[in-house]
Each structure stands twice: as structure tokens, then as C-alpha cells.
């Protein structure tokens, strides 16, 4: 039962960490919005999906890569990858702002019930995914390989691959940037202030609408970055990939303590590892079941997730 885990432990762990970092970034999309609005941004999964398409469009249509082209090298590689990342973040960020505008703003101004907002968000996520489905004829889209997946070295029998390394380090860097932003920047402080006490924040001269739009934007940027890494590692997308990713990332956010940025970090990594280990030990068909059982157990003992709720607890 455990022979796979033992035999391939380090390969699995590296894969789990890479996947985990992608979860971390998508979780941030959920957690940021939850922190300020106390609402699940149900459309975040589709924001992610749009980000993945942004990544592919950049390499395929702007830089003209195809499935058969050779991977990029040198400065060109950096340029293409960076453009892809920016495009993915821009697409996702703008989509997130659009979502806020269409699905949330009016309802928030009215101060109506949370469920209406939830359904509105579900509606917009149906719109986003259906739109993409119609645009792509329900077909999967493969990504040209831009970053060659060179095996850098072998550690304890595990291949250390370039794309995995890039993903882990770049995603971690983006996470820490974001955490710093929320902790130290003026806008970040405003976001935290709103998440702790909306009225008091207003009384300090914080423009609530701007803060909320920024929060969606920042969450969208993180989610978009995740879209880029996802494409770099898996090189594939389809209009419906958001659903699985969204569910996993949301689970990760809740595991860590939704609304808590650091919680998204640990929750994402934890979930990434849990998924690969559980798949290796029990079989992939029981992966989701294991994840949800662990989630229930965690919540039973820590009803606000591993790291407690809300952005407010990210103290200096």
C-alpha cells in the first residue's frame, strides 16, 4: 500500500509542492475577497480559467509558437514567459474586476443577503465558462511548450525539473510579494482595515469601493499568476478546468482559514501534498474523498481552519 509512497517519495513531494503553490495562488483569490467581503467569490475558478487562456493566447497567437515549435531559449525565453505571466495576470485581474462590478457591486451597495450575492456570483461564473466554451467549441486547448522541461538534477531518486523549480520559486516569490503588499503598503493596510471594520475604515478616509475593487484585482492577479504556472506545468486547458481547480483551491483556503493570507499559503501546500500522497497510497479515485474527510476533521477541531479566519490576523 505504501510502497509507491516510499519508492517515489521525493518525486511526489516535489510534484505536490509545485501543485501546492498553484493552489496557494488561486486560494489567495478566494481569501482576499473573503477577507474583505466575507463572501465566497464563486467565480474565482473561472477567473483562473480565463487566465490560463490568456497564457496560451500569448505564446500561441502573439509570439506565434505552435505545438511543433522548439522551446524558447535565452532572453527570448524570459521575454515570452514574462509576457505570458503578465497577460495571464492582466486577463484574470480584469476579469475579477469585471466580476466585482457585475455580480457584487450593486448587491453590496444595497446591503442585501449573502445568498443573493452567492447566486449572482454563480451566475457570472456560468456566464464566464459558457462564454469560453462557445469560443472554443468545448474543445481542449494545448499549450505550445515554451519552457523546456529540462531535468536539472536528480535528488534522492527524484528528477528536479526546470518547470517545477520555476513554478515553486516564482509562485513563492509572488506570494511573498503579495503578503508584503497587504502587510505594508498603504492600500494593503486599507484592505486589512476594511476587512476588520468596514465603518471604522471609512471613518479614516478609506474609499471602500476602491479598496474592494483593488482586492478583487489583487486576488485576480494572484489567480492569474496561478493560471500561468498551471499552463507551464500542465500545458493544457479547457473551458471547464476552473471547476476542479476552484474546488481544490477553495478547500485549501478553508483548510488554512479562509480570509487569512498565511492560511492560504499553508492550506495550499498542505492540500497539494495531501493530494499526491493520498493518490499514491489509496489510489487516485479516492483522492477527493480523502481531501474532504481531512477537511471535515480539521474543521471539527479547528472550526476556523488551521490558521484562523480573516486577514486581520496577519500581524506584523
Amino acid at each position: 500500500m505504501f510502497e509507491v509512497l516510499i519508492d517515489q517519495f521525493w518525486s511526489l513531494t516535489i510534484a505536490g509542492v509545485a501543485l501546492g503553490f498553484i493552489y496557494v495562488l488561486v486560494s489567495l483569490g478566494y481569501t482576499m475577497v473573503y477577507g474583505v467581503l466575507r463572501m465566497i467569490n464563486f467565480a474565482n475558478s473561472e477567473i483562473f480559467m480565463w487566465g490560463t487562456f490568456g497564457t496560451i493566447v500569448t505564446s500561441r497567437d502573439i509570439f506565434g509558437y505552435s505545438q511543433t515549435s522548439a522551446p524558447a531559449t535565452g532572453p527570448k525565453l524570459a521575454l515570452v514567459l514574462f509576457s505570458q505571466l503578465l497577460m495571464s495576470m492582466a486577463v484574470a485581474g480584469l476579469t475579477a474586476v469585471f466580476v466585482e462590478f457585475v455580480a457584487y457591486r450593486r448587491l453590496r451597495a444595497k446591503g442585501t443577503n449573502r445568498l443573493a450575492t452567492l447566486i449572482s456570483a454563480i451566475g457570472i461564473s456560468i456566464v464566464l465558462s459558457e462564454l469560453m466554451r462557445l469560443l472554443t467549441d468545448s474543445r481542449p486547448v494545448g499549450s505550445p511548450r515554451v519552457l523546456e522541461k529540462i531535468i536539472l538534477t536528480e535528488v534522492w531518486g527524484a528528477n528536479i525539473r526546470l518547470d517545477t523549480v520555476v513554478t515553486i520559486f516564482a509562485a513563492a516569490a509572488i506570494y511573498f510579494l503579495l503578503e508584503r503588499f497587504v502587510k505594508l503598503s498603504r492600500m494593503g493596510k486599507a484592505i486589512r482595515a476594511v476587512s476588520m471594520n468596514e465603518d471604522a475604515a471609512k471613518l479614516m478616509g478609506v474609499n471602500l469601493n476602491r479598496v474592494i475593487t483593488t482586492t478583487f484585482l489583487v486576488g485576480g492577479l494572484a489567480t492569474g499568476a496561478a493560471g500561468f504556472f498551471y499552463i507551464t506545468v500542465f500545458e493544457y486547458t479547457k473551458f471547464n478546468i476552473g471547476f476542479t481547480m476552484g474546488m481544490a483551491a477553495f478547500t485549501a483556503a478553508v483548510l488554512g482559514g479562509i480570509g487569512n493570507i498565511r492560511g492560504a499559503f499553508y492550506g495550499g501546500l498542505f492540500l497539494g501534498l495531501l493530494e499526491v500522497y493520498a493518490s499514491a497510497v489509496l489510489g487516485t479515485q479516492w483522492k477527493a474523498v480523502t481531501v474532504f474527510i481531512v477537511l471535515v476533521l480539521v474543521l471539527l477541531f479547528k472550526p476556523n481552519g488551521l490558521f484562523g479566519e480573516a486577514v486581520q490576523t496577519t500581524r506584523a
Binding site: I40, T117, I119, I126, T251, Q285, V289, F292
Partner: protein, 598 residues
């Protein structure tokens, strides 16, 4: 910013309904049922659904969506728990039917109770550990549960895995009604019957204790708990009832579709049903029915848009939620009701009370407005205390109606009346003497609580937190009444004046809307009376409505907004104090001598 209700369908409907007599109501109900029952014959009309046959669409998705939405509405709408795994109960019902139907000789109606029971058991098993979670945490856990059920079915051999189960038997005929493949009207009628039963069940529960408990939990779970609602128990109940409806729907669905597979029970179904509930008007039965009907029917009706219809569906959701966030037919709002009901918290209409040959009350009409102090006076034996006893459910009136906050009184148990928001003090002090003042009030705060068995059994940490919060609240009440300094003394050892005030504090402990004070100033000296008057006014100012029996005229004239005078079971005056005081009949019957004599 005012939110106007432009298409006020609910009020329109409610208006007709409320004005109707009993016979008219029965007629309206029967006609509606009949008309809806005739729907399967409307396949050729504008209602027809292209491609899919109309009668089939009426059964699924429309009928099933309505049924499931009503079930989910108990969970989401009534008690405010966000459940994203409702499909699990539907799946459990369906698989029970499929497995038992294909392996045993049992028919649909025999399997139905088993399916319902299994769904309910699943509801309890899921509910006990998870329903302590709030809001979005509960949402993700229920979502997980839904997925677990689907994945277990998908990956197990007893359920035939992804292949699903085919050849599920149709239900045997009921009398002359035969279930047919090509014409599904009988299925539709059965779904309708199940919907009606569910509506009946919800309505019954809603006007009774569980409904109030759910309402309290939905609005403020902590407060509900503080008022003595065993929230976990009621949440599990709500969950389990929802599960039962889902299970029943599943059994019928399997028996109708003849084939089921795990892919039919995805999260999308849960989300869709939730959308039906919120879209129609969460918490409002008719709203939910309409929402589910539209969302079930719409995609089939607009099949001509073909591939883009889901897109249209999404847009419809966003637009409707943005412009009618409470759904098409919103739930009744409390404040609305207050305005509609003319501010009367309590209304006695033509109440007669006979004991053997003695008529204690004779056609008494009495209205108590919200937020007022109403004094009820009259000579001994005039029927004042009888009025209290009728209101609090000690007696049931011989005839006439008593309406409290929109609920008709008369059949409730006494504690149920208390739960509705009526508290009283006693003329002869009836404190729990061997409890401290504080304990007296705490006990009142959890007077609503029935068992707490589950909590006690599993030793939830909340129980002790709850205890702490209750204590805090009791202190607050004592402070409010001004006797906090006596909180740790046994009630029986308190000075008389303090005991009287403690009676009031204890009454407030039950979080009443209406406080009945039975001669609160009995035995007080003038100084104490002044103090009491201030206290009673304070109680009123804090938002309670006060109905008081008192003999002390200076007290009554000083604090009452209105005075009602009874004599021999008949109301002889009802006006502001200064007018009543000068009413010759009152003077003759009661005061005897001009006021200010006491």
C-alpha cells in the same frame, strides 16, 4: 434609498387570501390544485417544450426541482444554513430505489420509506459533527459530503460504479392510475402530491416551535442560543427534514427515470437547486415553487437558442439577483408585518370565558399596541386575571380569538406561548426561592431549551461558553432592573421589594415581546411605587410591551399609555388615563370615589 417592490405579487396574493373566508380559501386551493393537475394536458399550447415532451419536463426537471427546492429551503431558507451538498440525499434516495428495486421484489411505495429513512440517517450522521460550523465552512463541508457520496458510488462495485443501474421498476399503479412511459401525467400527479405534503409539513412546522427556532437561528444564531434555543438540535432537525424530502425525491426519480448513474448527482445539481431557492425567494414557499418552476422549465423552453442557453441561464441569474436580490417572491419581512398589522401586538376579539355556569369574560375586545403600557383595571372578580390566563394559555377561551404577533393563540401549550414571546409575573411572588437571584434569571433565559441532550452527551465546548454568555446576559438584566447587587443572594432571602423586581427581571429573561405584570406594586410603599414606575417605564423604553394589572391608581395614571376597565367580564372603558379617570361608568363601577384617594 428606498427599495420599492414593483411587482408586489406576494402582497397581491396575500391580500386575496387574507380577505377570503374559510370556504373561499378551500375553493381557491382546490381550484389551483386542479388547474396545476391539468398541466400535463397543455403539451400542445405555448407552454410546450421543443424536443422534450412537456409532461416529462413537468416531472423532471420542473416537479423534482420544486420538490427538492422545498426540501433545501427548509435548510437554507428556514434555518439559514448554506448547504451545497443537497444532491447527496437525492442520490441516497435514488440509489436505495435502484438497488432495492432491481434486487428485491419491493415496489416503489415500499422502498420510499426506506429511502427517506436512509437519507435522514445520513442527514443526522453528517449533521452531528458538522452543523456546529457556520456559514461558509458549513458550505464547503456539505459540498464535500455531496462529492464523497458521489465518489463512493462511482468507485464502488455494489453501485455498479460508473455504469449505473438500469431497469429500475416503475411504480405499481395506484387504483386506476397507471404509470406509463409515454405519458407521464401520473408521475406528475404523484410529484404534485409529494410537493403538497412537503408544503403542508413546512407550513405546520413554521408556525410552531421549530419554525421559530429556525427563524431565530437564521437571524442570529448566537442570540437564538442565548434565548434558550438548542440550536444544534434544531439545525439537525432542519437538515434531516431537508434530507427526507431529498431522499423521497430521489426514490421517485429513480423509479421514473428507470436508470441512474453517478454522473447525475454532481455538485451542479446542488448548485442548481440552491439557485432555484434563492432565485424564487429564499424562505418563501411560493417563491421557491415559482423559482424552481422557472429554472427547471426555462432551459427546456429556450432549447431553440440551443448551445447558448446555459449562457442565457447564467445571465438571467445575474440580472435577477441584481435587481431582485430577495428573489422573485421575497419572504415576508418582519417590519412589514408590523405595519400591516396595525401595530397591534396582542388582539383579543370577542373573547368569552365560561367556567361551568359562570361567565368570567363576556365578549371582551382588547388590543395591545406595540411599545405601550396598557393597564387593565377593574374591581376584584372583574376578570382581569382571567384575561392573563387566557393569553398565557392557562385557560383556553370558550369562544373568540386571541392573536399574538400574528399567531393565533388558544391551542398552544403554556411554554409554547412563552416561546412566542409572552412573559408574566405573578401576583403572589413565585420565585424559585432556593436559587440565587441570578440563577432565577438564567433559568428563565433557557426556559425555551428542551433537552440539550446531544450537547450534553458529546460535551461540546460550546455548552460551557453558552453558560457563560447566559450568565452575562442575566447580569445585564439584573443591572437593567437595578438589582444587580443582589445577584448572588437566595431569592427567598431578598427584601420584598427586590423580590417583586426580580419577578420582572425573570420575565425579561425569557426575551418576551409582551410582559404581563400582575399587580407589581402590591405591598409597596409610596417611595417604592415611584421607583417601580420608573422601572416599568424603562422596560417599555427598552422595547418591551407591557400589559399590567394594578389597583394603585396613581401608579396607573402615572405610567399607562392607555387604560382598559373591566367589570363583570365586560369591557366598560378603553381610553387614555385622563379620560378613563373621568368616565362616570368607571367611577361608579370601580373607583367609587374620585381619583387620587389612595
Amino acid at each position: 434609498m428606498k427599495i420599492r417592490n414593483y411587482w408586489n405579487l406576494r402582497d397581491f396574493g396575500a391580500n386575496i387570501w387574507e380577505k377570503a373566508t374559510r370556504t373561499q380559501r378551500v375553493a381557491i386551493a382546490l381550484t389551483s390544485i386542479l388547474l396545476v393537475g391539468l398541466l400535463p394536458f397543455m403539451g400542445g399550447s405555448i407552454l410546450a417544450t421543443p424536443i422534450a415532451s412537456f409532461d416529462a419536463v413537468l416531472v423532471y426537471p420542473v416537479g423534482m426541482f420544486v420538490l427538492m427546492s422545498l426540501g433545501l429551503n427548509i435548510v437554507v431558507g428556514k434555518s439559514g444554513m448554506l448547504d451545497l451538498g443537497y444532491v447527496a440525499f437525492f442520490a441516497i434516495g435514488a440509489y436505495t430505489m435502484a438497488i432495492l428495486g432491481t434486487t428485491t421484489k419491493m415496489n416503489t411505495w415500499e422502498i420510499m420509506p426506506i429511502g427517506i429513512a436512509l437519507a435522514m440517517i445520513a442527514g443526522v450522521l453528517l449533521g452531528i459533527p458538522t452543523l456546529r460550523l457556520r456559514g461558509d465552512y458549513l458550505a464547503i463541508v456539505t459540498l464535500g459530503f455531496g462529492e464523497i457520496v458521489r465518489l463512493v458510488v462511482l468507485n464502488s462495485s455494489w453501485s455498479k460504479g460508473p455504469n449505473g443501474i438500469a431497469n429500475i421498476p416503475m411504480p405499481p399503479k395506484i387504483g386506476p392510475l397507471k404509470f406509463e412511459l409515454e405519458n407521464q401525467k401520473v408521475f406528475f400527479w404523484v410529484v404534485m402530491a409529494m410537493i403538497l405534503v412537503t408544503i403542508w409539513m413546512i407550513r405546520r412546522l413554521t408556525v410552531r416551535r421549530p419554525g421559530r427556532a429556525w427563524e431565530a437561528i437564521r437571524q442570529d444564531e448566537d442570540a437564538a442560543e442565548l434565548m434558550g434555543v438548542p440550536t444544534l438540535k434544531y439545525k439537525i432537525w432542519s437538515f434531516t427534514l431537508g434530507a427526507a424530502v431529498g431522499g423521497a425525491a430521489g426514490v421517485l426519480y429513480a423509479s421514473k427515470n428507470l436508470y441512474i448513474a453517478p454522473e447525475m448527482f454532481t455538485l451542479n445539481v446542488s448548485i442548481l437547486i440552491l439557485a432555484c431557492v434563492v432565485f424564487g425567494g429564499i424562505g418563501n414557499i411560493w417563491g421557491v415553487v415559482i423559482g424552481a418552476t422557472i429554472l427547471g422549465y426555462l432551459p427546456d423552453r429556450i432549447r431553440f437558442i440551443s448551445d447558448a442557453r446555459l449562457l442565457v441561464f447564467g445571465i438571467v441569474l445575474v440580472v435577477v439577483m441584481n435587481f431582485r436580490p430577495d428573489g422573485l417572491l421575497p419572504r415576508k419581512k418582519r417590519e412589514k408585518k408590523i405595519i400591516e398589522r396595525d401595530d397591534n401586538l396582542l388582539k383579543l376579539e370577542n373573547v368569552t370565558m365560561k367556567f361551568g355556569g359562570v361567565t368570567a369574560l363576556n365578549g371582551v375586545n382588547l388590543e395591545v399596541k406595540r411599545g405601550e403600557i396598557l393597564a387593565l383595571i377593574g374591581p376584584n372578580g372583574a376578570g382581569k386575571t382571567t384575561v392573563f390566563n387566557v393569553i398565557t394559555g392557562v385557560y383556553k377561551q370558550t369562544s373568540g380569538t386571541v392573536t399574538f404577533d400574528g399567531t393565533s393563540l388558544g391551542n398552544q401549550k403554556r411554554y409554547e406561548v412563552t416561546a412566542l414571546g409572552v412573559a408574566r409575573t405573578f401576583q403572589n411572588i413565585r420565585l424559585w426561592g432556593d436559587m440565587t437571584a441570578l440563577e432565577n434569571v438564567i433559568t428563565a433565559t433557557d426556559v425555551h431549551k428542551k433537552s440539550g441532550l446531544v450537547g450534553a452527551l458529546f460535551g461540546f465546548p460550546r455548552a460551557s461558553i453558552e453558560e457563560e454568555v447566559n450568565r452575562e446576559r442575566a447580569h445585564e438584566i439584573l443591572r437593567f432592573i437595578g438589582i444587580d447587587q443582589y445577584s448572588d443572594r437566595l431569592a427567598k432571602n431578598l427584601p420584598y421589594g427586590v423580590q417583586r423586581r426580580l419577578e420582572i427581571a425573570r420575565a425579561l429573561g425569557t426575551s418576551p415581546k409582551l410582559v404581563l405584570l400582575d399587580e407589581p406594586a402590591a405591598g409597596f410603599n409610596p417611595a417604592e411605587k415611584v421607583e417601580l414606575a420608573a422601572t416599568i417605564r424603562k422596560v417599555r423604553d427598552a422595547g418591551y410591551t407591557v400589559l399590567l394589572i394594578e389597583h394603585d391608581m396613581s401608579l396607573i395614571m402615572g405610567i399607562s399609555d392607555r387604560v382598559v376597565v373591566l367589570d363583570f367580564g365586560t369591557k366598560i372603558a378603553d381610553d387614555i388615563p385622563s379620560v378613563v379617570q373621568k368616565d362616570p361608568r368607571v367611577i361608579e363601577a370601580y373607583l367609587g370615589v374620585p381619583a387620587d384617594a389612595s
